[in-house]
């Protein structure tokens, strides 16, 4: 069931793919804002430079948290692409996130502290919908294993349109895009400086950026899972979803965390749970 090849491929290729996505992201965003934008390879130069910088820390424990975040972010994606259990994948992702949050707490810094609190609120906001997406796939395919879901002969999306929309909604949080870039942001207009990542610099920040690339590839893999029966549609879906996220990012102002949590929960109930409930009613009564 578990395919080691998938895991290895993810570990080796995801940084390349993730970095390219980040590059395209910046290029497209620039065009949306009427700029030319940097080269598509710019994210690689940026991260490379971070690793050359001086290793400056607030305290030594930060290194441990960053390393743990990095390793479990990879673990999450590797387990996903190996075809593992979807619930376990989500739990591993939560574990990774918690390490990042703990690192922010440990710094004893006002900005990273607020970032950490907000990051936890964001996790609390997206996790129900994330798990419901897994539950929805189980209800359709009778398996939590990514390998079985990917091998399901029909488009999962057809039965789970609500769940899919709900997932796209929380994807905005996970990709750290406006209006939900509440705990930290890629843009330079964050009122809490860099939030959860404020106190990480140099190589530590480089690792966080790399971990984020791994996460982005995993998340887009999750989007693909809704369309796995037809790879062409799957790829198109990924492109459309990502462009949609960019459009949302560039046309929305950041909201307060209260709205982010409330709306994510509402979406999880109205789109996610209701969609699955309809399947129950159709399938079992």
């Amino acid at each position: 069931m578990i395919s080691l090849a998938g895991a290895v491929a993810f570990i080796l290729l995801a940084p390349v793919v993730g970095g390219l996505i980040a590059g395209i992201d910046r290029k497209v965003t620039a065009h949306m804002q009427g700029r030319v934008g940097p080269s598509i390879l710019q994210p690689f130069y940026d991260v490379g430079k971070l690793f050359e910088k001086e290793d400056a820390v607030v305290n030594e424990t930060q290194r441990f948290y960053v390393l743990s975040y990095f390793i479990f972010a990879i673990f999450t994606g590797a387990l996903f692409f190996a075809g593992g259990n979807l619930l376990l994948v989500i739990f591993a992702l939560t574990l990774a996130e918690v390490f990042l949050v703990l690192g922010a707490y440990a710094a004893n810094s006002p900005y990273s502290h607020i970032g950490a609190e907000r990051e936890l609120l964001q996790i609390m906001a997206y996790e129900p919908m994330f798990l419901l997406a897994a539950v929805g796939m189980y209800v359709v395919t009778q398996s939590f294993n990514v390998s079985d879901i990917a091998g399901f002969p029909e488009l999962v999306f057809v039965l789970l349109p609500g769940v899919f929309l709900g997932f796209v909604y929380i994807l905005t949080i996970k990709l750290r895009k406006s209006p939900f870039d509440i705990s930290t942001s890629h843009h330079a207009h964050q009122e809490i400086v860099k939030g959860v990542t404020t106190e990480f610099s140099g190589p530590a920040l480089g690792f966080i950026e790399l971990a984020h690339w791994y996460e982005v590839v995993f998340l887009l893999g999750f989007v693909y899972l809704f369309f796995a029966a037809s790879p062409v549609i799957g790829i198109i879906a990924i492109i459309i979803v990502y462009l949609l996220e960019l459009a949302i990012d560039n046309t929305n102002a950041r909201v307060k965390w209260q709205l982010a949590v409330k709306s994510s929960w509402a979406v999880a109930l109205v789109l996610g749970a209701a969609n699955i409930a309809v399947l129950y009613l159709l399938g079992r009564v």
Partner: protein
């Protein structure tokens, strides 16, 4: 006599002997040795029981127990009189009325003496009993050992009140004895007797400090548990008038469902009160006034576990009935609402209390659903919760004696001030909510169980939202502990040796059980399920391997601090450019010297206790009313 029955009787009777010794000892070192040796013996015998009995299946021990029955009746009357005396002394009319009602039911049952009364085998043992015995024996004993150190500190801090350490240990050993009796009794009459003993013991322990607040909360706990006791007694009276002899667990479980819906609902109700489910959750929160080892005992290995124990025993009856579903709803909503309330609590012990209530809710929900998979999850929850929660309580107790506070905000940077105890707490918290530790494995199992059950989606949704709330309050507490504050001294000093033994053992158990849970499952839980349901729930081998991998990573990653690394420079945290001293003081806009202070979010307007608790009480009361209505209608006409 069979060896196993000797072990059984030893576990029930030996703690009583220790309790009597407590009446006699005067000197501190005598007490210390008696408690330590007793704790060690009790723990060792439970392990011996495991080793000798795990592969024997369910064994019933039949003997003529007429004399014991009569002794129990006499003792029950004595308990009633004692409670009545307390009620009169403190003018608590509610408790008085409830005690009289309960006593009347007991006398009614004794007088009835129909053929149903005869239970051929009053004692029994199966894998679930062994699991419960291990929890009581090992965790209960560790709490006893811990109490030795704690109570000495307690009286150093509370010099004004007379030293009643002997009474304390006496009640605790009686409590442990009653718990063993409860999990080994096949006769429902015996279960009820031990049930009442735990009610009395918890009343005495909660009111131990005899302050006004303690007395008030002890009476709250008493009347709520008496209500459950009345329901239990009513169930026994009802069963007495059934045609077949139905007062043994073995007989109840094989009888037709329709016949016993009413007693099942009554026992379910009793379980809800003891397991502190809404609307009865307030007694467990109030019980926080007791010395911390008492909280640990009530929350992890005894009392509330008696409530969920009986629910899990009755689960095959609940399965697929309206009673089961309403019970499951009470549990599920208690889980959701208590998890929410925990977010808004600033007092560490109250956070722990609400988390206990929430997790018991999850067990109740599993028991109400009652499928084999759900019971698998329920038993895992019981095991892991007992270990992690006792570790958390005992750590908080030790910290409280050092920093004189139970507030989470006062634990800021505990990892610097008291590194070893903070590490224990971090392990405990990780055990409560992070993959791949115990509680998360159990929640995973619960999701799997709910999703396969009829109408399970509702419970899945509640569980998913509830665990998102759980994550928030645990993670922010953990973060608070791990803050690295500058210029702070290590004040850990010498923690009492006995306290350390308990803390380190529990932290070890938290980690080790996460590693060996597949063994626990295949040796103990699965045979139990096979005997009761015929089918077995399993996690696939792959998932177990992956979790063990994660666990290894988590255990190894802290070692990364020891790795050689590049030369680094230490910088102060970013303060927006304001000049800040190394101890985080800065000049504010008005020129005054201000200390930089950070506090967690508690989101009071959303998760405030009064509002959520009120909603929970009404909601869960409604479900309980539906449960009884369904029992009467279904039980009367089916």
């Amino acid at each position: 006599m069979d060896v196993s029955v000797q072990l059984l009787l030893f576990l029930i009777l030996f703690p009583l002997i220790t309790a009597f010794f407590m009446l006699a000892v005067r000197r501190d070192y005598e007490r210390r040795w008696i408690v330590k040796i007793s704790a060690l013996l009790i723990g060792a015998v439970t392990v011996l029981l495991l080793v000798t009995q795990f592969d024997k299946g369910t064994v019933y021990y039949g003997f003529n127990a007429e004399a014991v029955n009569q002794l129990m009746f006499v003792l029950e009357m004595a308990i009633s009189l004692l409670i009545l005396w307390f009620a009169v002394r403190y003018r608590n009319y509610l408790v008085m009325a409830l005690t009289i009602a309960e006593t009347a039911l007991i006398i009614w049952f004794e007088a009835a003496s129909t053929p149903a009364v005869l239970v051929t085998s009053p004692l029994f043992i199966d894998q679930f009993s062994i699991i419960m015995a291990l929890i009581v024996g090992i965790i209960g004993s560790l709490i006893c050992v811990y109490s030795l150190g704690y109570m000495r500190h307690f009286y150093l801090n509370h010099t004004g009140i007379p030293d009643r350490t002997n009474t304390f240990f006496l009640v605790i050993f009686v409590f442990i004895s009653a718990m063993f009796g409860l999990v080994f009794s096949n006769s429902l009459v015996w279960v009820f007797f031990f049930w009442e003993v735990t009610t009395l013991c918890s009343f005495l322990l909660i009111g131990f400090t005899k302050t006004e607040e303690a007395t008030k909360n002890a009476f709250t706990a008493l009347w709520m548990n008496l209500l459950g006791g009345i329901a239990f007694a009513a169930a026994i009276v009802y069963l007495t008038y059934q045609p077949a002899g139905m007062l043994g667990l073995d007989q109840v479980l094989v009888s037709g469902k329709a016949l016993i819906l009413i007693p099942a609902a009554l026992v379910g109700f009793a379980g809800l009160t003891k397991a502190a489910q809404m609307p009865f959750s307030s007694w467990l929160v109030g019980a926080m006034v007791a010395p911390t080892p008492v909280s640990a005992l009530l929350h992890s290995s005894t009392m509330v576990k008696a409530g969920v124990y009986i629910l899990v025993r009755f689960a095959p009856i609940f399965q697929g009935t309206v009673i089961g579903y309403t019970l499951a709803f009470v549990g599920a909503f208690t889980f959701l609402i208590a998890s929410g309330i925990a977010i808004s609590q600033t007092n560490a012990k109250r956070v722990l209390a609400y988390s206990t209530i929430a997790n018991l809710g999850l067990v109740t929900a599993c028991a109400g659903i009652g499928t084999a998979e759900a019971i698998w999850a329920a038993i895992l929850l019981i095991i892991f919760h007992a270990i992690s929660k006792s570790l958390m309580f005992l750590s908080v107790g030790t910290v409280e004696h050092r920093i004189r506070s139970r507030e989470i905000e006062d634990m800021n940077g505990l990892i610097v001030r008291m590194p070893r105890i903070a590490a224990m707490m971090v392990i405990g918290i990780a055990g409560m909510f992070l993959a791949p530790f115990g509680m998360l494995i159990s929640k995973w199992a619960a999701i799997q169980a709910f999703i396969d059950a009829p109408f399970g989606l509702v419970f899945v949704v509640i569980l998913i939202f509830g665990s998102a709330l759980t994550l928030f309050f645990w993670a922010k507490w953990m973060g608070k502990l791990l803050v690295i504050t500058p210029n702070v001294e290590n004040v850990e000093g010498l923690v009492d040796k006995n306290e350390w033994i308990a803390l380190v053992s529990l932290a070890g158990l938290t980690t080790v059980t996460a590693f060996i849970f597949p063994v626990i499952s295949s040796v103990l839980i699965e045979p139990f399920l096979r005997a009761n349901y015929g089918s077995v729930a399993l996690l696939s081998q792959d998932n177990i391997i992956i979790m063990v991998m994660m666990l290894f990573l988590i255990v190894l990653l802290p070692l990364s601090i020891l790795l050689p690394h590049r030369k680094h420079r230490n910088l102060p945290p970013y303060m927006g450019g304001v000049a800040t001293t190394p101890d985080m003081h800065f000049q504010n806009a008005l020129g005054a010297k201000t200390e930089m202070k950070l506090a967690n979010y508690y989101v009071g307007p959303w998760f405030g206790e009064p509002r959520l608790a009120r909603a929970g009480v009404w909601l869960c009361t409604a479900f309980i009313v539906i449960m009884f209505a369904a029992a009467v209608v279904g039980g009367g006409f089916l």
